[in-house]
Amino acid sequence: MDDDQVFKALADPTRRHLLDRLFERDGRTLTELESELEMSRFGVMKHLRVLADAGLVVTRREGREKLHFLNPVPIRLIHDRWIDKYTERRVAALADLKHELEDSA
């Protein structure tokens, strides 16, 4: 699964809204999700498809229902790859500064 798809999926406010809804309560049907959005069923389906293709939503059948679950793993992987890296450096820079200031004191 490449990062492009995840970033693209996250770049849309409706899709982020859907992820937030699932974060609050996971395992929802299309009908439930649709009822909270001012959007056609088809529109919501399309957004869910993009989220599923990016691996951010996983669907499972339970009885006759198709439930949508939030899968946070791709976000975690992006965090590890794109956020940790840069914040760590900043923390390291601050630590260096602290040492330098303390040594010169």
Partner: protein, 145 residues
């Protein structure tokens, strides 16, 4: 800010550049698990899942083992007495080959109704475990901590 009320069914999924057999070995053999599963040595054999970590030792029932596609077992959180006191929950590993040498691994942790503290505690844990497992299989060494 909305807080997460721990879900009684949790689903985690990751794409890994590895074969289903490699993924199966990585989740059922201690020499692999200790490299990404919080140091736990986990071994699936004789319809049990044996776990050893940080002086704690326990085992869980295996409900279904279909190598290299599916593993279903009980979850009793023997690594923490507080969590271990809660009701048993269930973990399902599904391993599905995809095109291009990729395998999709999905973990479903459910039946957590009687284990609210466990549900809370494993939420971040599964993400850590799955991203560590992906790194181990793709890079050949454990994720830097």
């Amino acid at each position: 800010m909305t807080t997460l009320t721990a879900q009684t069914t949790q689903v985690y999924s990751v794409f890994i550049r590895a074969t289903p057999e490699q993924v199966w070995d990585a989740i059922t053999k201690p020499e692999f698990t200790q490299q990404y599963f919080y140091g736990a040595q986990i071994e699936v054999r004789d319809d049990r899942r044996f776990c050893v970590v940080g002086g704690a030792e326990w085992d869980e029932e295996v409900f279904e083992a279909d190598p290299p596609r599916k593993l279903v077992h009980g979850w009793t959180a023997g690594y923490d007495p507080d969590l271990a006191a809660e009701a048993e929950s269930r973990v399902t590993w599904e391993i599905e080959p995809q095109d291009g040498g990729i395998t999709r691994l999905t973990v479903v942790h459910d039946q957590l109704e009687g284990a609210p503290k466990t549900a809370e505690s494993v939420a971040g844990g599964w993400m850590y475990v799955l991203s560590g497992l992906k790194t181990l299989l793709e890079v050949g060494r454990p994720m830097a901590d």
